[in-house]
């Protein structure tokens, strides 16, 4: 199992030259080789979505991709969005809407939402809910995550004063 491959991964716009085993997942390599630990390990079988990243701007489960497969693709992780002092609008909305509690699933939801909003800039609430159902959250009950994504979509579409949707 010591056969290693020298690869170059482009992560958040930076090239990383890495020596990896063929069986190492992109998730593990991002976390432990590239040392970007914002992408989290939740289930390692592609269901929970905690490891969601963008590969060529498409949401992808980093646990289902081998690092060697990701060469030549543009990878974006949560670290590309914003910083604690300058979060991006989606991160800001998650905080404003209390769209997180323990925060473990949050990077996965953020990257899922980033990719989704690129593809569907003006989604309905039901479409957001459908998209969000790709990932698991154990703390929030999802509602405030949907709220945060809805707010961001509205703001990005130039609607500056989002009205919170009634419960029904």
């Amino acid at each position: 199992m010591s056969d290693k491959h020298l690869i170059v991964l482009t992560v958040n716009g930076i090239d990383h030259e890495l020596l990896v085993e063929a069986r190492w997942t992109l998730l593990d390599v991002l976390r432990h080789q590239v040392e970007l630990t914002g992408t989290h390990v939740g289930c390692e079988h592609g269901v929970c979505g905690a490891c969601t990243i963008l590969v060529d701007e498409e949401p992808v489960r980093a646990c289902l991709v081998y690092a060697v497969q990701a060469e030549g693709h543009a990878i974006r992780t949560v670290e590309s969005l914003g910083t604690p002092t300058e979060p991006n609008d989606l991160q800001e909305a998650f905080s404003a809407r209390h769209g997180l509690q323990c925060g473990f699933c949050t990077p996965g939801f953020l990257m899922l939402a980033e990719g989704f909003l690129t593809q569907r800039p003006t989604p309905s609430r039901e479409e957001i809910r459908e998209a969000v159902s790709a990932n698991l959250c154990r703390c929030t009950g999802y509602q405030t995550i949907v709220d945060a994504i809805e707010d961001t979509a509205r703001r990005r579409a130039g609607q500056t004063d989002p009205e919170p949707e009634a419960v029904r």
Partner: protein, 799 residues
């Protein structure tokens, strides 16, 4: 992060929906969860686990493991020689049989997934290779996977010293009048309810990183735990070290929900391996292990009889409760956690004159159980709420009306269960919930739907939950290790900022925000100047961690009291420096102390700190040169009680039997709300877990004890399309026992949801003649009931 933070200068931080102070790091991927920590020379660990549910271990052969490339070491129980975990109750042998949980299984395995050996390697992939190379042989014994199998006359014994597989058997109450009430009753409800085994399922699995510092002779264990001090105690005892040689710290934690409020065995094996190897060792549980070998909960069966008068007044309950606790007692709560909770608190929010209850914990060859958000309350509330609905049907009463006739309305109420309930809004919450559904037209919609052949049901649940379990309340349960109090220390620095410690342990409940609000309120200090520290046994004097919704009530009270004491110190120093009496000054609500008879004379905290630390010769004679205060807090008596009513509208799909929630309304009362956003978040998240228990999640086992839900393909965690939007209304009945008037809000959602959902499902099924009394409700059961009704061409006749 910018945000419309509350203006603290007006002196009211409590009740403000301030932004979470945790968020900036968590939304940017800068949180520091356990697996994010890397230490130089780090090795990785995993466990060889039992492949059979029950068997004598014939041989553990690790020879091939040690030859695998990348493997550094592999140890069996014999190699490590650790002390066992024994969880005790202070009860006589006829009531309680203690069991011994070895760190690694020695002679016998008692569930599939039980750890037998630890494998340490250079990376997690090599760990897996090593685990695969292990050879363990067993003499396989029959599995014990059901109540019937466990209690059968010739049942195989999970623990040889626990006859009949009964680990706890108590008749907690047998008050006068039970039999008479049944004889006199014209309405007796007989009910058998079951709830499936569930996994608390924090998104971040369990784990530990252990390192031995030779220079300091100290073991550092960084772990995901809700109870770091208790982990330290068990680590020290099992490894035969003084507690001062063990430091336990907890980084950011990705949820716990109770699963992490007990001490696991893997953490201890990891620590022992690290000490022996002289290198740091990391273990992160994978999801498969988390699903099959993590602590589970909720598998309970209730046989209940309830007597009512013709007017719908509940007169007696006679209950028999059996909780399948799996293979071992957890530390520190023991297998008593579920049955004792159920027996003591089953009457819930209702006036009950006569009560008899027997509660048992049985052993089985399944993963052991631990407290899970709500602990038995989702189950007994489900029983009580089903009883109310069934009696209402029998007596021709409205489900809300029968509740109204039975709710406790005068406080303090001393229950038949020997518990004094602190004031709540039981009736008010019910009435508001009903009003909401009626105003929104759901009752009319249900009528219309029935006429159109659609299947809509409305369900309610009312409950209270004891939250601030102080040490008196836990002692009453006869725990040998009695939780209850908490300690906080607060220290001001030269800039007038404070660091405050708490023995509670945040794992998503926003402690950094709400505790800061408590301190800011008490000291009249801007929120930005308060920092909370938790989760470090060397930095925190002692702590009982976070469980039983105790953080805001007990931990928060300790924090607030410490802040008050620091405020008093600041006033003493300020009065001295201003040349006036201490009675003539007060905190000004804006980071300073003001002279009452001349408000132009004021001293900022920075000035006082400057004197305290840098010019201590100016301090009053008796005042020590430190701005530090410590406080302990315990809730007296029977504790605090939050309450709520949940109201649900569901629709069943006649084609698939699937139940969809159309409307979920929660009216909750957790006393004074410190931060409404946080409380609503707790309610909604809890409700989602309650819905999960009502409709989806189930850990089942094959007859041979093999767990059938080892991945998320089989264990159905609800997603955003299954969990509806939920409205949360707050009622506030302040608590007299806590510093802020808060009562605790962590568990309520989980407690109320299963009963409300099940009642709604049964409401829509009523015309079929079938009522479902087990959770989760499977679509097949709904479909069968609806199909049966269709065949018999019965009309829909919802109440």
């Amino acid at each position: 992060m910018s945000g419309p933070d509350f203006d603290g200068r007006r002196g009211r931080w409590i009740g403000a929906p301030v932004r979470r102070r945790e968020d900036p790091r968590l939304v940017t991927g800068r949180g520091r969860f356990l697996d994010d920590i890397h230490l130089t020379g780090l090795l990785h660990a995993g466990f060889v686990r039992a492949t059979v549910a029950h068997g004598r271990v014939h041989e553990v052969d690790l020879t091939a493991v040690r030859e695998v490339e990348g493997v550094v070491a592999a140890y069996s129980a014999e190699d490590l020689g650790l002390g066992d975990i024994v969880a005790l109750l202070d009860r006589p042998p006829e009531e309680y049989t203690p069991t011994t949980m070895p760190i690694l299984a020695r002679h016998k395995v008692r569930f599939a997934g039980e750890p037998i050996a630890i494998v340490i390697a250079k990376d997690p992939y090599a760990v897996e290779d090593g685990i695969e190379a292990a050879r363990v042989t067993y003499d396989v014994l029959d599995a014990v996977v059901s109540e019937e199998a466990a209690l059968a006359a010739d049942a195989p014994l999970v623990h040889e010293d626990a006859p009949s597989n009964v680990l706890l058997d108590v008749t907690s109450f047998d008050t006068p009048g039970v039999d008479e009430a049944f004889q006199e009753s014209g309405c007796v409800i007989d009910l058998v309810t079951r709830s499936a085994r569930q996994n608390a399922l924090p998104l971040e699995t369990r784990g530990a990183i252990a390192s031995w510092d030779e220079r300091d002779e100290q073991l550092l264990v960084q772990t995901c735990s809700q109870v770091p001090h208790q982990v330290r105690t068990v680590l020290a005892r099992s490894m035969r070290l003084p507690e001062q040689s063990v430091r336990v710290t907890v980084p950011d934690m990705g949820g716990g929900f109770g699963q992490k409020c007990v001490v696991g065995r893997e953490e201890i094996a990891v620590a022992a391996a690290a000490k022996r190897l002289g290198r740091p060792v990391k273990w992160i549980e994978d999801r498969r292990d988390a699903l099959t070998a993590g602590f589970l909960a909720r598998e309970q069966r209730y046989r209940t009889r309830a007597a009512f008068t013709a007017e719908g007044k509940l007169t007696a309950i006679d209950a028999d409760i059996v909780c399948d606790m799996g293979a071992y007692s957890c530390y520190p709560f023991t297998v008593g956690i579920e049955p004792l909770m159920a027996a003591a608190e089953m009457p819930s929010v209702y006036q009950l004159p006569a009560y008899r209850v027997r509660a048992r914990a049985i052993a089985s060859t399944k993963a052991p159980t631990a407290p899970y958000r709500g602990v038995s309350r989702p189950q007994y509330v489900l029983v009580m709420e089903r009883i109310m609905d069934l009696a209402a049907r029998r007596l021709g009463l409205d489900p809300v009306e029968i509740r109204r006739r039975n709710l406790i309305t005068e406080f303090p109420y001393r229950g038949v269960n020997n518990v004094t309930y602190d004031p709540g809004s039981y009736l008010e919450s019910l009435e508001l919930a009903e009003k909401t559904l009626r105003a929104e037209g759901w009752y009319e919609l249900r009528e219309r739907a029935a006429a159109e052949g659609r299947h809509l049901g409305i369900g309610y649940s009312c409950f209270s939950e004891r939250t601030g379990y102080g040490s008196e309340a836990f002692a009453k349960r006869k725990m040998t290790v009695v939780p209850g109090f908490d300690i906080s220390e607060i220290r001001m620095d030269l800039t007038g900022s404070v660091v405050v410690t708490s023995g509670t342990m945040n794992h998503g409940q926003s402690h950094e925000t709400t505790f800061a609000q408590l301190v800011a309120e008490r000291l009249g200090l801007d929120l930005a100047k308060v920092k909370l520290r938790q989760g470090d046994t060397e930095r925190i004097p002692y702590g009982w961690g976070t469980f039983a919704s105790r953080s805001a009530t007990i931990g928060g009270s300790a924090v607030a009291t410490a802040a008050t004491r620091l405020g008093e110190q600041l006033c003493v120093i300020a009065a001295h420096l201003l040349g006036t009496r201490v009675e003539n000054v007060e905190l000004d609500g804006d980071g300073g102390v003001v002279q009452l008879d001349d408000p132009t004379r004021r001293m900022a905290f920075e000035e006082l700190a400057d004197v305290a630390y840098l010019r201590s010769h100016l301090l009053p004679k008796e005042t020590p040169p430190t701005l530090t205060a410590t406080a302990a807090f315990d809730v007296p008596g029977d504790g605090t009680f939050s309450n709520a009513t949940h109201a649900v509208v569901v629709e069943a799909d006649p084609g698939t039997g699937q139940v969809k929630i159309l409307r979920y309304a929660c009216v909750e009362d957790c006393g004074v709300v410190i931060n409404p956003k946080v409380v609503e978040g707790q309610a909604r998240g809890g409700i989602a877990q309650g819905i999960a228990g009502a409709l989806f999640e189930e850990v089942s086992y094959a007859d041979n004890g093999e767990p059938s839900a080892a991945s998320f393909i089989d264990y159905l965690v609800p997603t955003a399309t299954e969990i509806p939007d939920i409205s949360v209304d707050h009622l506030e009945t302040p608590c007299a026992f806590t510093e802020s008037g808060a009562k605790g809000a962590g568990e309520g959602g989980t407690i109320g949801a299963p009963a409300a959902v099940l009642n709604a499902v049964n409401d829509l099924l009523w015309h079929t003649g079938v009522q479902l009394e087990s959770t989760p409700v499977h679509p097949e059961a709904v479909l069968t009931a609806l199909a049966g009704a269709h065949r018999h061409e019965k009309a829909s006749t919802p109440v």
